[in-house]
């Protein structure tokens, strides 16, 4: 019965046609290359660090648990944020979920496309649907975050 009730919330990736095989391969190569600098939080944000610039977004797991995103509240540009500060929100199914800064620093860029296309978060959560970029004030903070393996494990624990 419960399956019946919730079936209207099929995850977005199931509704889209599968990409050709070549693209899957390309993606997995890119993913492997950035693997070493990608970290996660227990609030389901991902952080990709290149030098001291951290790109932030919400994970694929998060977007599928939220459902269709209809509005994104981005942080102010140049805002100074402390790790774990609330910096915005994503709204889906009448629920606004807060997003937290995984690292401290200055917000130097926000993804303007999300204003008109909040669904980018569902379609491409860990790439085109990125949320903002933070110039880190303390690069070592990245060490406190989860790596891909630890994040996977965290999700598995949560769901079983």
């Amino acid at each position: 019965m419960s399956r019946l009730i919730f079936s209207r919330y099929a995850p977005a990736h199931l509704l889209r046609p599968a990409p050709p095989l070549a693209i899957i391969r390309l993606n997995s190569i890119l993913f492997t290359r950035s693997y070493t600098t990608k970290r996660y939080t227990k609030e389901h944000e991902w952080v990709n660090v290149e030098e001291s610039l951290a790109t932030i977004g919400i994970t694929d797991h998060a977007q599928s648990s939220l459902g269709e995103v209809v509005f994104v509240e981005a942080p102010e540009l140049n805002k100074k944020v402390k790790k774990q500060d609330p910096i915005g929100a994503v709204e889906s199914v009448k629920a606004a979920s807060d997003i937290y800064a995984p690292v401290s620093g200055d917000v130097v860029l926000v993804n303007e496309r999300l204003k008109d296309q909040p669904s980018l978060i569902n379609e491409s959560p860990e790439d085109e649907g990125w949320f903002c970029k933070i110039k880190m004030s303390n690069s070592s903070e990245i060490n406190d975050l989860l790596d891909a393996e630890a994040y996977e494990k965290f999700i598995d624990q949560k769901e079983s």
Partner: protein, 294 residues
């Protein structure tokens, strides 16, 4: 019917869920109460992250604060609220700050910009408000399943009074194409706040001044109105005296116990009034009464 798998329920932290009916309280007080309850839990959770500095009693106390869910039930005096995406102040939309607020206040209602999801709505007497402060992790629920669960609770509550209600693509609960219950939630680190507003015998004319939830062609209804509609059909062919036709008022107090029961069934918790279950809840009860008496 329950949303939780057997496995999840066997892992449940607490199988009983306290609720409290606060009668009518101003929106500002309910807002600060919710914020207080959420912050208190998040703070306790944070303190528990460094358990070595805590005594056994402190640890137990903080565990209790961090884990205790509660369902707040209440009514508001006439109040219009907007959701997160319509916050003019936050947007720095200087020209528009206050114009909508001023317009709506002129009808004698209060006005608040909030951090919940959803758009403009009205709260007022005769509307049963539920603000569940839950940790979604305790129920192994995703945000979208939580919202769907709330919708089910409302549908089953309506059903208990013979009103057929359903969901639509617009979230919330609908009957005959009209909205009977609005939903707007905020989630902070798995802790929910805000919630649902079920029109029992709300004065629906308040909704004429807004576009509820941003849906231009949709109307709002109440349980009283739906039941009156059904009676009209029922008595259409019969000679009935005025007494039999007497309008059945679905007051908040009539709906409250049914809703509480349906909520417990859905979330697999036995519901009990706050403070009546064990002494440890007296603290929480005190926090609530202090918050709303300020």
């Amino acid at each position: 019917m329950s949303i939780l798998s057997r496995r999840a329920s066997s892992l449940a932290v607490n199988s009983s869920l306290p609720y409290i009916y606060l009668s009518q309280i101003p929106y500002a007080k309910a807002l600060s109460l919710q914020s207080h309850l959420v912050t208190r839990r998040l703070k306790a959770r944070k303190q528990l992250q460094s358990p070595s500095s805590l005594t056994t009693e402190e640890n137990a106390r903080l565990q209790h604060i961090a884990n205790t869910d509660i369902l707040l039930l209440l009514q508001h005096p006439p109040t219009y609220t907007t959701g997160r995406r319509d916050r003019k102040r936050a947007e720095g939309d200087v020209n528009n700050v206050g114009s909508e607020e001023k317009r709506l206040r002129e009808f004698g209602a209060e006005y608040f910009e909030t951090l919940r999801g959803g758009q403009t709505t009205f709260h007022g007497p005769g509307q049963l408000i539920g603000y569940p402060i839950l940790n979604l992790q305790n129920y192994k629920l995703s945000v979208k399943c939580y919202v769907a669960a709330i919708e089910r609770v409302i549908i089953e509550t309506c059903d208990a009074f013979g009103i057929k209600a359903q969901t639509s693509e617009h979230t919330g609960v609908w009957t005959d194409g009209e909205k009977i219950c609005a939903i707007g939630i905020q989630v902070q680190r798995y802790i929910t706040s805000h919630g649902f507003a079920l029109n029992c015998n709300t004065d629906l004319s308040w909704f004429d001044h807004i576009i509820p939830c941003g849906l231009v062609d949709k109307k709002v209804t109440s349980m009283t109105k739906q039941i009156a509609k059904q009676q009209q059909i029922e008595f259409a062919d019969k000679e009935t005296n005025q007494l039999q036709r007497k309008k059945r008022e679905m007051s908040v107090e009539i709906v409250l116990p049914v809703l509480t029961e349906k909520f417990g069934n859905m979330f697999e918790r036995s519901m009990h009034p706050l403070g009546c279950f064990d002494d440890s809840e007296i603290g929480l009860r005190r926090v609530i009464s202090e918050s709303i008496s300020k």
